[in-house]
Symmetry: C3
Amino acid sequence: MPLAKLHVPAHLPLHTTRQLADAVHAALVQTCAVPAGDRFQLVLRLPPDGMLLDASFGGVSRGPDACIVEIAFLQGRTDDQKRALYRAIAEGAQDSGMRPDDVMVALLENDRIDWSLGRGQAYVDVH
Amino acid sequence: MPLAKLHVPAHLPLHTTRQLADAVHAALVQTCAVPAGDRFQLVLRLPPDGMLLDASFGGVSRGPDACIVEIAFLQGRTDDQKRALYRAIAEGAQDSGMRPDDVMVALLENDRIDWSLGRGQAYVDVH
Amino acid sequence: MPLAKLHVPAHLPLHTTRQLADAVHAALVQTCAVPAGDRFQLVLRLPPDGMLLDASFGGVSRGPDACIVEIAFLQGRTDDQKRALYRAIAEGAQDSGMRPDDVMVALLENDRIDWSLGRGQAYVDVH
């Protein structure tokens, strides 16, 4: 039940956007024990004046393709799993032709009872 | 002070979208003691490539009208209130002609001090 | 590492939107010890049927320019810092010609390990 939101510049090619989304999901599967089928991603394409991002804060060099990936998922992942997640997303993004400096990630956490995947049922009650 | 975000496919009719929004709010009022006037909802309409949702994860069957409802609200609701919320949203969606399998819900929680409803005032100080 | 999302009506002039964004960032710097360079903001412009906001809940009077500012940032700010943040955002918005009643703020919190500002690195490891 991660819910990933990719905020990308509107000019980013659909192909690259999809590769980034694939990379984010693969990273979650690989590092955070997310089932392969557990994919829920939203892509928000924003115009230049919709992304006001500092060009260098945090010791990186952001360019016009900079993206922000926000992932809400279950609490309980360790710090090292999160570190591995960041690395895997950046590597996957790089494999897609993106610059790793252009991929920022923010995580939000909730509880098992906080998800209903459909049909009005709490996920915790169907698994 | 729930803030509900409805992520819906761009093709969903405005009428249906509004009914879903109404159902979400009615469910919050009915199950989570949200005041009837306490309605704050954002609707984000996304193109097909902006919603990458697994078709069946969680034991449901998602179709092209699948939506993701994200609700940020005050911590403190019980597990059973959340269960009732999911049920009520799905029932309301069904009454609007939507398939209950197409309505996913994710909850995020914060504290009373984390809301200002306007005028620069913390909500906790005006109630 | 605050990540601020400004949900504004699509008709809000770009100039005013930018001033609101500036006000939000200045308020974070002034009241919450956010570094001046630590600016990450997303602006989502929504049509009228994308913002379903009660006109008066919380004792304010919302108009057609009502906005919702959502900020995800590190836990640890005190209640008084949050109060000061709300005041500063409203004052900055007013200086930009907006009505303070039209600016709602919601805060979400996470942990230091929950941020990667780029390059696949956890922010906690590079600072």
